[in-house]
């Protein structure tokens, strides 16, 4: 959510804007009558909403940086994946990025939830399901020799990344998704938005679990 007021200074400017807004409506009503006042109210309200929507679109996101630096010879990798962490491609990518380093890998699985349940704060089921997926992912990583720990994150993948970046402080983020056409995250531009929002290198790994299963067969 974008908060339009973030400080006392912005709240003060809001006072001035409110004063101008109501002064214009009152003046129009006193001089031209109720209908003129109503017209000014509608016009000004439309103007304010239009301006706000435009300002929201134009607003550049403030890039989040990791809260701590890794020691020399250490590499912290944040992997954000829903259910695709089991893919060989991702495991190869992690191994490649941590080669020659003392690695620390954190796998975050967002607790994906329906919008209705999200707004009703009914997320226990989503978190339990995410925990199951996470446990399975970590078991697969253990099988391929990758040291990792994991946690269930916010249902919104970008927020889950930001939370982890602030607590874990990654040197790099790996986002694992299904291929184009099957990935909701790609459809929503999660990778693009993450590159805009976080000041760390981001690698996008496409994992085609179905093809891997076919290859295994």
């Amino acid at each position: 959510m974008i908060n339009p007021l973030r400080s006392e200074a912005e709240a003060f400017r809001f006072v001035l804007a409110s004063l101008a807004y109501f002064a214009a409506i009152v003046l129009a009503t006193v001089l031209g009558g109720e209908w003129v006042g109503l017209a000014v109210f509608i016009a000004l309200t439309a103007l304010v909403i239009g301006w706000w929507l435009r300002a929201r679109r134009a607003e550049q996101p403030v890039q989040t940086r990791p809260t701590r630096q890794s020691a020399a010879g250490e590499r912290r990798i944040l992997v954000i994946a829903n259910e695709t962490v089991g893919g060989e491609t991702l495991r190869d990518c992690i191994r490649q990025k941590t080669e020659g380093y003392r690695e620390e890998v954190l796998v975050v699985t967002p607790a994906l939830n329906s919008p209705l349940k999200h707004w009703a704060s009914d997320e226990d089921e989503a978190r339990a399901a995410a925990q199951k997926r996470l446990d399975a992912s970590l078991a697969r990583l253990r099988g391929s020799g990758v040291e990792a720990r994991g946690e269930v994150g916010d249902g919104e993948p970008l927020q889950a990344m930001e939370d982890a970046l602030r607590t874990f402080g990654a040197d790099e983020i790996i986002i694992s998704t299904h291929p184009e056409g099957r990935s909701h995250w790609l459809e929503r531009g999660v990778v693009t938005h993450a590159r805009e929002r976080f000041a760390v290198p981001i690698t996008h790994v496409v994992v085609d679990l179905e093809r891997e299963r076919e290859d295994v067969r």
Binding site: N3, R6, S7, F12, L19, T29, V146, A148, R149, R166
Partner: protein
């Protein structure tokens, strides 16, 4: 190789500073959002009484003291300027500016409240005098209660300012009452415009 998942906790994870807004500032904005809903409920009642039920406003033979309330509005709006000045001063480590700004804001707020109480005593109608009287007292009274709370916050900030608290790096105790005070000011602009003038 060690692999371990964090223990599954019931409910959301522990809160930490993931927001781009400081937690205490975010807290006051969330509180204000709930206050807006409270005022919204009262304004809905006002809307139904005045627009839907078509109650004459003000209902004859009563009159609203538009001029006195206008002067009061001027005082309250000015107090937002002094509040802003106080915060800008402490951001530059100007303690004299902070003290003067807070003291002026407090005095203007007190003047507003006392004037409103005086207005009540001379207005000539009571909350029991029809829907008009009830809504008038509810809206202005609710706002007056918020001014009283704001004055307590300002008093605490002023006393602390005179005792040498706050600096350019630590001034949440001024910023948070400041945000609240601006909210009280905006609400009065809405109340004055809708209840007294329109």
């Amino acid at each position: 190789m060690a692999v371990h998942a964090e223990a599954h906790a019931h409910g959301p994870p522990l809160a930490h500073k993931s927001s781009r807004v400081d937690a205490s500032i975010l807290g006051i904005f969330l509180f204000i959002a709930s206050e807006i809903m409270l005022f919204g409920a009262f304004f809905t009642a006002y809307f139904f009484v005045r627009v839907v039920a078509g109650t004459p406003w003000p209902t004859p033979p009563f009159h609203l003291p538009v001029f006195v309330a206008g002067i009061n509005t001027l005082i309250l709006v000015t107090s937002s300027f002094t509040m802003h000045w106080a915060l800008q001063s402490i951001k530059r480590d100007n303690h004299a500016g902070l003290q003067a700004g807070l003291l002026l804001t407090f005095l203007m707020g007190l003047t507003f409240l006392l004037t409103q109480i005086r207005e009540y005593s001379r207005i000539g109608f009571a909350p029991k005098d029809g829907a008009f009287g009830t809504i008038f007292y509810c809206l202005t009274g609710l706002h007056g209660a918020h001014v009283a709370v704001g004055l307590l916050l300002l008093l605490a900030a002023t006393v602390r300012a005179f005792r040498g608290h706050y600096s350019s790096t630590a001034h949440h105790g001024v910023e948070i009452p400041g945000i609240y005070w601006h909210f009280v000011d905006v609400m009065w602009i809405v109340v004055y415009s809708t209840v007294y003038i329109l």
